[in-house]
């Protein structure tokens, strides 16, 4: 299933946990430190470095970019560390997060409540995923190095739906706690 950013709610509602998708367009990298900074801005009522509506946050801290390449190795980091942040961002219009690993129930519930999704990218496939990134530009917090917020242009970036908008989960562990 091809997805193009910005993602619209209707397209998201048709996806089911376990579906393979390929994303083309823009994703924003942000992980632990950047999320803390974003929330400082939110709490202060200030503007964020990028619009949330329909957008995708990719939990990724890439390795440095060698000359002539768009980006270094760029696989996902473990998503659960950002669980405290995801529900509020979904509430504000964020369409999808991309990471690896299972997450807490609050994130799964937020996906259902706000019509958003959590996508799983294959951890440790950093070299392969980097090939799907055609451009990368740091747009905020360069001093955070690999934890800066970057705008990535991606072409057919592969991911699997982890949590869908109906509250389903791809993770076997969650089968013990079915929703819906």
């Amino acid at each position: 299933m091809q997805l193009t950013t910005p993602l619209d709610k209707q397209a998201l509602a048709e996806l089911r946990a376990g579906d393979a998708v390929a994303i083309t367009g823009t994703v924003y990298t942000a992980r632990d430190a950047a999320h803390a900074k974003l929330f400082e801005l939110l709490d202060a009522g200030q503007e964020l470095p990028f619009e949330l509506e329909g957008q995708v946050i990719y939990y990724c801290g890439p390795s440095p970019t060698p000359p002539g390449k768009a980006i270094g190795s760029a696989g996902p980091t473990t998503a659960y560390r950002m669980d405290a942040f995801a529900p509020r961002l979904y509430a504000l219009g964020l369409a999808a997060t991309i990471g690896k690993g299972d997450r807490s129930r609050s994130v799964r519930e937020a996906c259902e409540e706000f019509g958003a999704i959590y996508l799983v990218a294959v951890g440790g496939a950093g070299a392969l995923l980097a090939q799907r990134v055609t451009a990368a530009e740091v747009i905020a917090y360069p001093e955070l190095g690999p934890e800066a917020i970057a705008r990535l242009t991606v072409a057919a970036f592969p991911a699997i739906v982890g949590y869908d908008t109906a509250g389903n989960s791809i993770f076997p562990a969650d089968a013990q706690h079915p929703r819906g």
């Binding site: 390795s63 440095p64 190795s73 980091t77 690993g101 951890g123 440790g124 392969l128 980097a130 993770f171």
Partner: protein, 279 residues
């Protein structure tokens, strides 16, 4: 006594650090390919990406994973060696150069509480020195990623839980980790000793060539039993379900106190990056 100029340690570490980040050990790649052959569905798709990733990383000299880890080095130093300087400093110099020149990610914070305290060169490495006989230095270098390390644990079990209790505890740790440590895993187990000895043994266990059984028959049997139990959980590649949750289990045992049963479980992700060299 054999005189060793520490510069050679620096140069060797430099090479090892680069190679470890770009090249998956032969045995690990073979194990991933074997897993690919037996998986189906999503698990198969994941394994196919991992095998392809290893090929791309080697061909383009791109890090296998963007988390180029915190470097762990076991330095086995022969008693007959006379070193010109501090081997830890020499190791750190090699790491710093490799991480700079190799476009490897610098992921080390000087202060765990200060997110702006990145050391900028991925040092210090964590170095464990071991004195051995002879006049050689054997360096084992492993960039250890944060994801799998975060799902590792040391626990002081009650001795009464016994062998089955150990198996159950390892299985529980793997199930709790789910996809977070990036299965398929290599599981290092340190059993016995003291709290810190068990932990060290669990990391040393990961350094073993993949799938090489313990030389002790009882321990080798325990490794097999743990592996079977872990794979029976169905956690699978990246925690998305499947037959291959672990590629191998390596157990290092040590004598321990009559009242204790220290158990350390160090998870290694599928990007099982380690290289070694002898000086």
């Amino acid at each position: 006594m054999r005189e060793i100029d520490c510069e050679i340690i620096t140069e060797t570490v430099y090479d090892l650090a680069l190679e470890a980040n770009y090249l998956l050990p032969e045995r690990v790649l073979e194990a991933l390919e074997a897993a690919l052959a037996r998986e189906t569905g999503v698990a198969r798709a994941v394994m196919a990406m991992l095998v392809e990733n290893a090929r791309i990383a080697a061909a383009t000299r791109t890090p296998l994973c963007q988390d180029c880890g915190l470097v762990v080095v076991f330095a086995e130093i022969g008693r007959e060696c006379h070193l010109s300087g501090d081997p830890c400093a020499a190791i750190n110099q090699g790491v710093a150069r490799a991480y700079q020149e190799g476009y490897l990610r610098k992921s080390v914070l000087a202060d765990p509480f200060r997110r702006d305290s990145n050391t900028g060169d991925n040092t210090p490495a964590v170095v464990h020195t071991v004195l051995t006989e002879g006049d050689r230095i054997r360096l084992h270098l492993a960039p250890k990623g944060g994801g799998s390390e975060n799902m590792s644990v040391v626990e002081m079990l009650v001795p009464a839980v016994g062998r089955q209790g150990v198996i159950d505890r390892v299985v529980a740790q793997v199930v709790a980790g789910g996809g977070k440590p990036c299965p398929p895993l290599i599981i290092g187990v340190g059993l016995g000793g003291t709290l810190e000895k068990a932990a060290l043994l669990s990391k040393w266990a990961i350094m073993r060539p993949l799938g090489e059984p313990s030389p002790d028959a009882d321990t080798a049997e325990l490794e097999c039993d743990i592996l079977a139990a872990v794979n029976a959980t169905g956690v699978g590649p990246m925690g998305l379900g499947g037959k291959t949750t672990a590629l191998a289990v390596h157990v290092e045992k040590h004598p321990c106190h009559i009242a204790s049963l220290p158990l350390a479980i160090n998870l290694q992700c599928h990007a099982a990056r380690h290289q070694q060299a002898t000086i």
